[in-house]
Amino acid sequence: MNGLIVHQVGPGVAVQDLGRPGFLAKGLTRGGASDLRAVHEGAALLKQSPALAVLEMAGTGGTFEATVPLRIALTGAAMSATIDGENAVWDASHHMPAGSKLVIGPCREGTFGYLHVGGGLATEPLLGARATHQSVGLGGLVSKGQTLPIGKDTGRGVGMTLPRDGRFSGGDVRVVPSMQTEDFDNNIRTRFAKTEFRRDPRANRQGIRLDSDGEGFSNPKQLGVVSEVIVPGDIQITGDGTPFVLMAECQTTGGYPRIGTVLPCDLPRVAQAAAGAVLRFAFVNLDNGAAIQARADAEEATLGRRVTPLIRDPHAMQDLLSYQLVGGVVSATHSPFEEG
């Protein structure tokens, strides 16, 4: 089978895509990649559909061998990466010759790194998607010895890069009021918005626990105990006053009240915050939140325009003399952007 042979792999590596919408009424949440922004970046680098499946790597990657020549892209949390021993720049697309080995090490910043392959990973779809949702038995973690099948790559061009944004080390996150926000006393909401939280080590694809100094955020007001709809980005306050941001694999309903909902465009920042990273939450009203999100959606749709050729830093080249620095045919009329 053509594809990527997995020689070594970290403990949190799984196939993901944009998720599995349409089953909320059946109790199945959408799931999909934790950092959807990274999925779109990889698609822009390889000039292919963001719906193609990718490899999500929590914390560390693995060693992968290409059985055929492949185009790949690396996005999300920056990890050390080499192809047959040569450094492979993150946030960029690369060529993997047949038989070459890609080694992806631990992340230096952030939590989830992504490996994208031209043509996408072609594992068996379940309920219309390839997203792994381990807790409900849809797919499983990638294991050593496995060969990940790959779809037909109709695109071409590598050696492209995208600028890196600042979403990998915590920071400010915008929140819209949600269905239960007004059930919280105003002073609790104000204190919540003024608090510096730290991402707790207890976090997974379902939710991320937030730590803070001082008292919790339980509401003294009597709250209904009837379970209600959950959406990704909801910040629930558990009985002891601890906030959790609910992530891609959250349940569809839950009984804890929600103080607000993180804007979808800021959710990758929460997903990527490493343990101990500081997160602050700022409320924006629904209209402003909608406008911010609409702008982010429009920007994401034009990511392809910000892809530029990767310029090699001579200092980063291990053996300068082995490179042919002025090679290739340069045409005054042919855009190098088309070829990569």
Binding site: F23, K26, D234
Partner: protein, 249 residues
């Protein structure tokens, strides 16, 4: 921003992901029927802004991208639909399914029947008779894929969750609390009491019917022996657990 209203139904935004129409602040049968009926009515209207819908114990949820579509516009449209009839007294949608599911009550397969019966102020025999006599409705599906919350049992069954968690109640279990029965999709730690056991699989990802149950479906349990359950379990490749289904007209 939520619209604070003094009486139900109320309409609220849920993040930028959708709109929730809530028919009550406690899990009453009336609010649940209204939520199921209203969801069905809006689905029938086929609004292009609605990507999908669901219902909880007391609410109907419409997933709408509120960054692309105005909350106020859709809220007003929902308000008009709400005003078109009395949702507390509307028939449940047609085409629902009646499921007859074999279950063992008590024995070592469901060891908390007696305890639950005591909490409900009745004998184990009375509890078993009530649980097999009642035609229960799927109030909502949640917590795990395909997992139904069934109700609404009589007032005696308003039993609280136990204080400690049972560490691992198996898939197919019937557990009771707060006038409801839940049929577990998978092994689950729970504070609800384990009163019955079925071989019915609520989530069959590779089957023809991945999610057999839908909100509004009706469930009738029939009592079988532990031996009969064991026999069903050995011939249960399709996950039906010996259940029979018929379409309600």
């Amino acid at each position: 921003m939520s619209d604070q209203q003094s009486h139900y139904p109320i309409i609220r935004s849920v993040g930028l992901n959708g709109i929730l129409v809530t028919f009550g602040d406690t899990a009453t049968d009336t609010a649940n029927r209204a939520a199921i009926a209203f969801r069905n009515a809006v689905d029938t209207l086929g609004w292009p802004e609605v990507d999908e819908s669901s219902s909880t114990l007391v609410s109907a949820f419409f997933r709408v991208d509120l960054a692309q579509h105005s909350f106020a516009v859709i809220r007003d449209r929902l308000q008009d639909t709400l005003a078109s009839q009395d949702w507390t007294d509307v028939a449940l949608p047609p085409g629902r399914t009646l499921w007859t599911i074999p279950a063992v009550f008590g024995t070592d397969r469901a060891p908390q029947l007696t305890e639950a019966a005591e909490a409900a102020g009745m004998t184990a025999e009375q509890a078993e008779a009530e649980l097999t006599a009642a035609r229960l409705r799927v109030l909502t599906i949640g917590f795990a894929p395909g997992q139904p919350y069934l109700g609404t049992l009589g007032a005696a069954w308003n039993i609280p969750r136990q204080v400690g968690l049972s560490p691992n109640v198996p898939a197919g279990a019937l557990v009771a609390a707060v006038r409801q029965i839940c049929l577990f999709t998978k092994d689950t730690p729970t504070g609800w009491r384990h009163v019955g056991q079925t071989a019915f699989q609520c989530f069959r990802p590779r089957g023809d019917m991945p999610f057999p149950l839908s909100p509004g479906d009706e469930i009738q349990f029939t009592q079988i022996t532990a031996q009969e359950l064991a026999r069903i379990e050995t011939h249960n490749a399709d996950g039906s657990g010996g259940a029979v289904r018929e379409v309600l007209t």
